[in-house]
């Protein structure tokens, strides 16, 4: 019955949207007579209430918390997305064989039937540009690009043979975050917020922070709500200066006055909703109320200046600047205050070798230094506060990079770089419900393709939803006449990394 209601609601909404002025005038002509006749014939007035369905508690407060279908091992997610796609071959996927074939032409068999973004003809293989050692009790291989992170890998589970079918940033980021390489689907964070609401009523359920100078190539759709009501989209905070603008009331505006103002606006909006029944009006009402409540909590939670000095040292934060370190610290503060999903995007990982910054031996090292200490600090800080018990941390890019050196336009480049590659790359997860020190997935000797324990993007989504307490096959939203899932028709749990 619930499904049917939703479909009727959607249908009537679409009909309303299609009404043009012309329709209205035509209706006027034909209905005027009827209007005059109606009281004569039935002796009843016109129903002044809008037709449609009764509003549930959830419609009135779409961010109200809900229990998950089954006990989730995690309550919150911190997703660290390295936009541009870091090279797995310089960080985690150790390939000594590849070093032996450094600078030799790539075997044709690897190239057959493959499409690359920039590689043309037969490129040369490029050996790992980092030194690897085995670390921790788990004995996982980590490169010297991440000296701090290599100290905490026993808390982490690696996925070494992730694959995607997209080889351009925008579609691949969309795929990784929304389960579809095309626009229009809700992001992972939106799904989770839709399913669980927000724990802290003074903060949004889904916050996005960016660093690295640019936002992801796919634009804001990577944290968009797709066909879910827009109240579930990620709330992007500014990475420099005030995280949220106009938080302070202007001089002379008291809190009560503000409250009256908001409730007056909302009354008008409710009136509007009663007339037209557009659910986006409800979203608007809620956003006004949320903004009002955010004024209480946001100044405190978004201010990292109050943190003690040793925390700043741990993270390597520099208040006031845009940095991944600041965002990591903010992520911890937000999760501590009950935010469901914190999504961090760090831009600048697209190491094609076209310039110094994009070289896998130098530029990539600089990028790694920017994240190494902060993300290690984030894990340690979550751990010491006990937050890692029920917070899931996910790290990864949108795809990986080729074992071959990029030869843009068939020419040798002056810097060492790697092209986009989706057949095999590394991601890691840690925290709530993740098996510590696990490693899943094996790639071939060149790190070109996964040969065992491959996982798809849908598998990762299925696993994340599972840890949050959802069965990814049952967590659906009815839209355009059918139920939609984050994992579409695919996705299998990666059971071996679940504790």
């Amino acid at each position: 019955m619930k499904h049917l209601d939703k479909l009727i609601q959607e249908l009537s909404q679409q009909q309303l949207e299609k009404k043009t002025r012309r329709h209205f005038l035509m209706d006027c002509v034909s209905k005027m007579g009827g209007l005059a006749l109606a009281p004569l014939m039935f002796g009843c007035g016109l129903d002044s209430k809008p037709k449609g369905l009764e509003l549930s508690q959830r419609d009135l407060n779409p961010l109200a918390p809900l229990p998950p279908p089954f006990r989730g091992k995690a309550k919150s997610i911190i997703y660290l997305h390295m936009a541009g796609a870091p090279s797995q071959l310089e960080l985690f996927d150790y390939k000594p064989e590849l070093a032996k074939y450094h600078n030799q032409p790539c075997p044709e068999s690897l190239l057959e039937g493959k499409t690359f973004a920039f590689i043309r003809g037969v490129p040369n293989l490029l050996g790992p540009q980092a030194n690897f050692t085995q670390k921790g009790e788990s004995g996982a291989w980590v490169s010297d690009f991440l000296p701090h992170f290599s100290q905490v890998i026993d808390d982490v589970a690696f996925l070494k043979a992730v694959h995607t079918d997209q080889f351009n940033h925008g579609p691949a980021q969309l795929f990784m975050q929304t389960g579809s390489p095309r626009l229009g689907r809700p992001s992972l964070g939106s799904w989770v917020t839709y399913g669980l609401g927000t724990e802290n009523q003074n903060l949004p359920g889904f916050v996005v922070l960016t660093s690295g100078g640019k936002t992801p190539d796919a634009g804001k759709s990577v944290w968009g709500s797709g066909f879910l009501p827009s109240v579930y989209q990620g709330v992007q905070c500014r990475s420099k200066g005030d995280p949220v603008l106009y938080l302070q009331d202007p001089d002379g505006m008291s809190r009560d006055m503000k409250k009256n103002l908001i409730s007056a606006i909302n009354d008008v909006n409710k009136e509007e909703f009663n007339q037209y029944g557009d659910p986006e009006i409800l979203a608007r009402i809620n956003q006004y109320e949320m903004a009002y409540r955010m004024q209480i909590e946001v100044p405190e939670v978004m201010d990292i200046n109050d943190e003690p000095e040793y925390i700043h040292e741990l993270y390597g934060t520099q208040p006031g600047k845009e940095s991944f370190a600041n965002n990591c610290l903010l992520a911890r503060k937000l999760v501590e205050k009950g935010v469901r999903v914190v999504q961090l995007y760090d831009w600048g990982w697209d190491s094609h070798g076209t310039d110094h910054d994009g070289s896998v031996d130098m530029g990539l090292r600089n990028k790694c230094r920017e994240i190494d200490r902060p993300m290690t600090a984030l894990l340690l800080d979550l751990k010491q506060r006990g937050l890692l018990e029920d917070t899931l941390v996910v790290w990864g890019g949108e795809f990986g990079r080729t074992p071959m050196q990029e030869n843009r336009e068939g020419k040798q480049q002056s810097f060492l770089g790697r092209d986009h590659h989706g057949d095999a790359f590394t991601m890691w997860m840690a925290g709530g419900g993740i098996k510590k020190g696990a490693s899943y997935g094996i790639t071939d000797d060149f790190g070109f393709s996964g040969i065992d324990e491959r996982v798809s993007v849908h598998d990762i989504h299925a696993t994340i939803l599972h840890l949050m307490g959802f069965d990814h096959e049952k967590f659906t939203y009815d839209f355009q006449g059918r139920p939609f899932r984050l994992t579409d028709v695919e996705g299998e749990l990666i059971r071996k990394i679940i504790a």
């Binding site: 010297d144 010491q384 071996k496």
Partner: protein, 460 residues
């Protein structure tokens, strides 16, 4: 050249069967509408019965052809066939009889009623063949199903006990359960798609219309294995792509069984398989995180009252009666507010009082919440005095005391706690002092530092 006619006609059976139902039902309705001595419907009834009888004969023929050309066993269709033929004959008889009458008699009405029952039963048997015998049972509530004597648990697939799995018979206890879960719904003795029956070993050996499916010792020659690993889009891939797909471990187990010879004798322990392969199927006796005692669910109204007073109050999950309460938006909570939590005394399993106004006095109240499993008292006025009162909360597993005044001496009093697993004391006096000995629980004291490395400052 016209070989295809019979099988094709057979395939029309599912459509044709509806014709006699319609015709005969119409005739039967007219029979019952006719009053005694009245004869205005007689012609219509004759026509309806005649058409119904002819359609019933055609249905029976097409049904027989379908049985001949498709993978149905005689046992599964025989009664449907007999009853179908009887329906056809009986409707001819009624048509013949009505020609003699000028009006409808009561006895004729009775016979028409019998025809209706016959037709209904025939149709039901047919439905059982196409949709399965439980088709009408499945949508019923579980209690009704149990009342009717049906097992409600679906085929769960392969399950392996944690201890003693070496003694399992490889075929019977491992391969067959996988086949039962994934193949048998289309390949059983009743419904043999592709003339293949995988419901038991001897039937499996016979193979299907494409020949044998098992070549002992050679998985690559056995379509029982090869079809599983074909690309999903391939028409020959099994199971069909819209059905549940076998997991890689299940495929591996089948492959390994075939390469061992594909017999019924071998034991799982002698098969030389890596235990990892079995891991996903081992049913672990997982100790649940929250207490196992049963408590009644908290009435919705009581939860709403709590929510209105500013608590975050939700069940742990939709299926759980345990309640999670947090004062994340209620920092004014103090020692005087405990009575508000009285309605959830039994059910409260997760309580977060971080950053509230509570003091050591509140520790006395906690005794009233016997099922408390997670307790967060971060950044509160807890000094650590009287911490031993928590010994009475036997179900307590995780205790958070970050940024309080707790010392290691205070924690000593919890040493004999029966269930405590983890205690977090980051940023307290306890986190700084030297640790005298190990605690029975995991003590997280934090204070992590990352060393300064030369590489932190080198810019390449």
């Amino acid at each position: 050249m016209i070989d295809f006619v019979f099988p094709l006609f057979g395939r029309f059976h599912p459509i044709l069967v509806h014709l006699p139902i319609g015709f005969l039902a119409f005739g039967i309705i007219l029979v019952f509408l006719s009053k005694k001595g009245e004869n205005k419907h007689l012609d219509s009834i004759r026509l309806a019965y005649l058409l119904g009888a002819i359609a019933a004969v055609l249905s029976s023929i097409s049904g027989f052809l379908q049985y001949q050309y498709e993978g149905f066993s005689w046992e599964s269709v025989q009664f449907h066939f007999y009853f179908g033929c009887t329906t056809a004959l009986f409707s001819f008889y009624l048509f013949y009889e009505i020609n003699k009458y000028n009006s409808i008699t009561s006895f004729y009405k009775l016979k028409s009623g019998a025809l209706f029952a016959l037709m209904l039963f025939t149709g039901h048997l047919g439905g059982n063949i196409t949709h399965g015998e439980t088709y009408l049972i499945e949508p019923l509530p579980a209690e009704v199903q149990n009342f009717l004597g049906y097992e409600t648990t679906a085929n769960k697939g392969l399950e392996i006990p944690e201890i003693g799995w070496e003694e399992l018979v490889y075929y019977e206890d491992v391969v067959q359960p996988i086949l039962n879960q994934n193949c048998s719904s289309c390949h059983n003795s009743r419904n043999k798609k592709g003339n293949l029956d995988l419901s038991e070993y001897n039937a499996l050996l016979k193979g299907g219309e494409d020949g044998l499916v098992l070549t002992g010792g050679n998985p690559e020659q056995s379509s029982l294995f090869t079809r599983l690993v074909l690309p999903k889009e391939d028409d020959d891939h099994m199971p069909p792509k819209e059905k549940r797909q076998l997991h890689s471990e299940e495929i591996e187990l089948i492959k390994h069984w075939i390469s061992l010879g594909g017999t019924t004798e071998s034991k799982l322990g002698d098969a030389g398989i890596e235990p990892e392969l079995l891991e996903p199927f081992i049913k672990k006796e997982e100790t649940p995180f929250y207490p196992t005692t049963a408590v009644s669910s908290v009435p919705e109204d009581n939860l709403n009252v709590l929510k209105e007073s500013g608590f975050f109050a939700e069940p742990i999950s939709e299926e759980s009666n345990w309640i999670m309460i947090s004062c994340i938006n209620l920092s004014s909570f103090s020692d005087a507010d405990w009575e508000k939590l009285n309605p959830v005394k039994e059910q409260l399993a997760f309580l977060d009082l971080s950053r509230t106004q509570i003091t050591d006095q509140s520790l006395d109240e906690l005794v009233g919440f016997p099922n408390l499993t997670v307790l967060k008292l971060n950044e509160t006025g807890i000094s650590g005095e009287g911490l031993e009162k928590l010994l009475k909360n036997e179900n307590l597993k995780n205790l958070y005391l970050n940024k309080t005044q707790v010392t290691l001496e205070h924690l000593e009093s919890l040493r004999n706690h029966p269930g405590l697993e983890k205690v977090f004391v980051f940023d307290t006096p306890a986190s700084g002092n030297e640790l005298a000995g190990e605690f029975s629980f995991y003590l997280e004291r934090g204070n992590y530092l990352l060393p300064k490395l030369a590489t932190d400052t080198i810019v390449y």
